[in-house]
């Protein structure tokens, strides 16, 4: 394990910048999570209890149920993109600022050829 004595964790938690990161990230993450779970479970619930709606044909033989299932893919991709943009624009920068002050920034994401010796 790393040597935790080198870092004052309590000070990080008290730092207003960490508090702000915690608040913004928390709201955003759990909000997206709730949205994801709600949208996903509309599919099994719809397939079970709203079959008449799912059977309506809207595009040739393609029905609402099939389009809804396909929309689940699009929604999953969009949510992933939204989160990952938000994280790399805001959260990563805020985290790096705090980390730089309290114990050295986390190493940048160095991409090594697979299997390259990285032990020190």
């Amino acid at each position: 394990m790393a040597n935790p004595d080198a870092v004052d964790w309590d000070a990080i938690i008290r730092d207003p910048r960490f508090q702000s990161l915690h608040r913004r990230k928390g709201t955003f993450l759990w909000g997206l999570m709730a949205l994801t779970v709600a949208y996903y479970f509309l599919l099994p619930v719809g397939a079970a209890y709203f079959q008449d709606l799912f059977k309506i044909q809207v595009w040739g033989v393609v029905n609402v149920g099939l389009l809804f299932a396909l929309s689940e893919f699009v929604v999953a991709w969009v949510l992933a993109l939204v989160y990952s943009r938000k994280a790399s624009r805001d959260f990563d920068r805020m985290a790096a600022e705090i980390a730089a002050e309290y114990g050295g920034a986390p190493k940048p994401n160095v991409v090594l050829p697979i299997g390259k010796e990285v032990l020190v």
Partner: protein, 613 residues
């Protein structure tokens, strides 16, 4: 019936050539990788040197098991819409992984799931429960893969079951033993690329004739008499009043496979929360350097996995239309041969070179899939055994030389590998489909609540982790053992008697139809007669097989619990276990460590140091 063993005798050399090529490539990769494995970090996590894109492909390679590639295409070809609902669940699961699991786990853990649990809790106790749960989940999954793989290789190239299982086992052992996570990662990447490429080629060939129009493609599916006949068989009596067009359209509507709505929701819960608790998937996040790379690798994985699952729609419906549900089910009742048979058909059919080349290629991909997934599972189990149980608990963290740790990891790999071959052979002919569901159920009910709450809940502690793991696992396994998934001899025998009682009347009706002057009626009667003979033979075989047994494996005459998937009950119970356990047993250390855990999981401080150990 289509050829019993897939590839005809004349073309078997094509299959062997393609298999040999795939195996040769992976062996070269393993040879190169083996030279680079010097420390435990290399063996378990490829030294953290995997890039986000590489890891995205490797996650896809780890996750797209034979069950999802062959099983889902098969389910869609036999049951239409409901099969595709599985595909949706498998992708949606990754949002959970992306949002709340991947980054904290990267920042807190090192090699294993138990590392995450041990960070702020009593290391020995949580390592023991974490490692046991890892081994339990991986063994369920592994057994299903080994048995499924043995059957598949036997069907595809005609070598016997035991040889197939041993072959899969030895090949997998070669990758993991010599190349550790480096070789495993590359085998998974190669396999994922081959799988996606093969699927794209097949889908292009299937879809191109319709000018890549979805309604035109599906219109052909619903107007196919083979599909309409399948729906009529599935629906039974209610189908009698439906027109051919209505029957065909029914294939695109829900309800042909899932009968109980709650069961379907329960399965959805196990998929969406279980993926985030699968130890071999969690382990992949330790192979990248930072939380940012972990996040990017999940996004890549979602693109690849989601793209693949959209293709299953075309693989499944294409197989239903071109090969026909009845032909698919006659080779394998579960539909697992749908994708290989479709490949053979579009290549030119059973007697053509290209047809058999396509079949051989898809078979080799399926084989590589099984080996790659099994390798990931064995590595996860072996790391739990060596890193958590041996080094962490038995030796109290005192195996410090890199050689000693790698040796422990290799010995554990050999033990788990040998066990998996033995279990695979012992479980021959058993119904193992339930085991994949069980692996997801335990992961969702035990691992997921523990991992989630230890990184997000201040009051979570050792007592909570131990209670949650135990209650979640016992609930998921216990409810499955008393569920309709098991065979209940009394019910099987009652059904067999019913078939035999109805036989004379049916036989009389069919015999009369056979003499009908209308050739269509007579042809149908011939088919009905064959089906009747088959049903009677099966009923008689069932009566013999279960003659001395009245109760299930658990000693029950009928299921105590009506759902096939326990998730809807066992997942809340797992969470409740962590909550109550944490509140009942206080643990000052876990609370004092909270600030460190929470700060670290958010900002990833010193993560690179912690990787290097």
């Amino acid at each position: 019936m289509i050829a019993e063993s897939g590839v005809g005798e004349n073309y078997r050399w094509v299959t062997f050539a393609v298999f040999a090529a795939v195996i040769a490539v992976t062996m070269v990769v393993t040879y190169v990788a083996a030279k680079r494995v010097r420390s435990a970090a290399d063996f378990y996590t490829a030294g953290g040197g995997v890039s986000a894109l590489q890891n995205g492909w490797a996650i896809a390679g780890d996750y797209l098991s034979a069950a999802s590639f062959l099983g889902i295409a098969g389910l869609i070809s036999l049951y239409g819409y409901d099969g595709f609902m599985y595909s949706v669940g498998f992708l949606a699961a990754y949002i959970t992984v992306l949002l709340v699991i991947a980054e904290p786990c990267r920042n807190i853990g090192r090699y294993t799931l138990a590392d995450i649990l041990a960070y702020r809790n009593d290391p020995k106790k949580t390592r023991i429960v974490g490692a046991l749960s890892t081994i339990t989940v991986s063994t369920f999954y592994l057994t299903a893969q080994m048995v499924g793989g043995g059957v598949l290789v036997k069907t595809l190239i005609g070598i016997n079951y035991e040889t197939s299982v041993i072959g899969v086992g030895i090949l997998m052992l070669a990758y993991v033993l010599f190349g550790g996570m480096v070789a495993t990662t590359w085998v998974q990447i190669i396999k994922a690329v081959l799988l996606v490429a093969a699927s794209i080629v097949i889908v292009m060939l299937v879809w191109a004739p319709y000018g890549f129009s979805l309604p035109a493609f599906l219109a052909d599916i619903v107007s196919d008499p083979k599909v309409q006949a399948r729906v009529a068989t599935l629906l039974g009596d209610p189908a009698k009043n439906m027109s051919a067009a209505e029957l065909g359209q029914r294939f695109l509507e829900p309800g042909l496979y899932f009968k109980a709505p709650i069961d379907q929701i329960s399965l959805g819960m196990a998929l969406v929360f279980g993926t985030a608790g699968l130890p071999h998937i969690l382990m992949r996040f330790f192979t990248v350097r930072t939380a940012v790379a972990a996040r990017r690798s999940v996004v890549w994985a979602m693109v690849i996995i989601g793209g693949f699952y959209v293709l299953t729609l075309f693989l499944g419906f294409g197989a239903a239309h071109l090969v026909g549900p009845a032909n698919i089910a006659s080779v394998d009742a579960g539909g697992n041969m749908a994708a290989p048979l479709l490949a053979q058909y579009i290549g030119g059919g059973t007697d053509s070179f290209f047809g058999n080349l396509m079949l051989a290629f898809v078979s080799a991909v399926a084989f590589a899939t099984i080996v790659a997934v099994v390798a990931g599972l064995v590595l996860a189990s072996a790391s739990a055994m060596a890193h958590d149980l041996f080094v962490g608990v038995i030796r109290d963290g005192k195996v410090t030389t890199p050689e000693g740790q790698v040796r422990a990891a290799r010995v554990a790999t050999l033990i788990i590998g040998a066990l998996s071959i033995a279990i695979g052979i012992a479980a021959k002919g058993q119904n193992v489909a339930v085991l994949v569901g069980l692996a997801f159920a335990v992961a969702a009910s035990a691992n997921f609540p523990c991992v989630l709450l230890t990184v997000y809940w201040k009051r979570c502690n050792t007592g909570g982790i131990v209670t949650g793991m135990l209650i979640g696992t016992i609930a998921a396994v216990g409810l499955t053992l008393v569920s309709p998934n098991l065979t209940y001899p009394k019910a099987v025998k009652a059904a067999a008697h019913k078939v035999l009682d109805a036989e004379p009347a049916k036989r009389a009706a069919v015999s009369e139809a056979l003499t009908s002057p209308d050739p269509a009626v007579a042809a149908k009667a011939t088919k009905d007669l064959a089906a009747l003979d088959k049903a009677v033979a099966k009923a008689n075989a069932d009566l013999v097989k279960w003659a001395d047994q009245e109760t299930s494996f658990m000693g029950l005459e009928k299921p105590l619990f009506e759902l096939k998937n326990p998730g809807v009950i066992s997942i809340p119970l797992g969470f409740l276990g962590v909550l109550l356990g944490s509140l009942l047993f206080r643990d000052r250390r876990a609370e004092q460590m909270w600030n460190e855990v929470y700060a670290r999981q958010n900002i990833g401080l010193l993560v690179s140091k912690s990787v290097a150990g």
